[in-house]
Amino acid sequence: MNLSFFDQFSSPCLLGIPLILPSLLLPALLLPSPGNRWINNRLSTIQLWFTHLITKQLMTPLNKAGHKWALLLTSLILMLLSINLLGLLPYTFTPTTQLSMNMALALPLWLATLLTGLRNQPSASLGHLLPEGTPTPLIPALIMIETTSLLIRPLALGVRLTANLTAGHLLIQLISTATIALLPMMPSISALTALILFLLTILEVAVAMIQAYVFVLLLSLYLQENI
C-alpha cells in the first residue's frame, strides 16, 4: 500500500502487535538506576548532576508547598526530553507526536494545578481572572477572556508539543525525500538540500529539548499561580 507522509505518525503496529508499549518503555530504560554506593559510575553521576540542575531550575520560583511537585515535574521533563531526542534517530517512533499522549499528560496535570489552587486558596486563584488595574468598563469582557485563556491552557499545552514535534518530523521527511529524489537529476541541488537537512536536524534537536522544557516550565508557572 502506498504510504503518505502522515503515515509515520500512525500508532505503530507490527503483525498486529501494538508497538506503542516498547516505544514508551525503552526511553525509560535508558535512564540509569544508581547502585547502593556513595560514588556511582560516571553515567549515574552525570544523571544526578543533570537532575539536580533541572530540579533547582524548576523549584526556585516555587514556594515551599510547591516543592512537593519536584519529583513529578523533574521526571516529566526527563521523560519528555528522552522521548523527543530518541525520536530524532532514523526509523524510530516518537510517542510525543501523538496527541493522545500529550493531552493525557497535559490535561490531568493542569487540572491538578487548578484544583490545588481552588481548594487551598480559592479567592486568590479566582483573582487571577482579573488583572490588577483594569479599567472598570472592561471588567466583564476581561473576566471572560481570562476564563477562556485559562480553560484553553491544557489544549494549548498538549497541542504545542504535538504540533512542534509533528511538524519537525514531517519537515525532516519532506526534505530528505527531496534530497533523495534530486540526487540522480541535479546532484548539486541535492547537496544543498542535504545541507538544509543537516541544519534542520540541528534545529530539531534544539526544538526537542526546548519543547520538553517549555511544557514543564508552563506547568510550573500554572502551579506557581495556584499553590
Binding site: S11, P18, L25, A28, L48, A104
Partner: protein, 54 residues
C-alpha cells in the same frame, strides 16, 4: 491525520501514565543527593576596613 484516530487513545494514555509513574519516578527517586536542600545561606556582612596607608 493519524494522530486523530481515537482507537489507541485510551491505551496510549494508560501506558503513558504507567511509564511515567511506575518506571521513571521510582528510578529518579533512587538517586540520592548528598546535601540536604536548604535556602541560600546569607552570611553576615563583613566589616569593611581600609588599607592602613602609612
Amino acid at each position: 491525520m493519524p494522530q486523530l484516530n481515537p482507537n489507541p487513545w485510551f491505551s496510549t494514555m494508560l501506558l503513558t501514565w504507567f511509564t511515567f509513574s511506575l518506571l521513571i519516578q521510582p528510578k529518579l527517586l533512587s538517586f540520592t543527593l548528598t546535601n540536604n536542600p536548604a535556602n541560600k545561606i546569607t552570611t553576615t556582612k563583613p566589616t569593611p576596613w581600609t588599607w592602613p596607608w602609612t
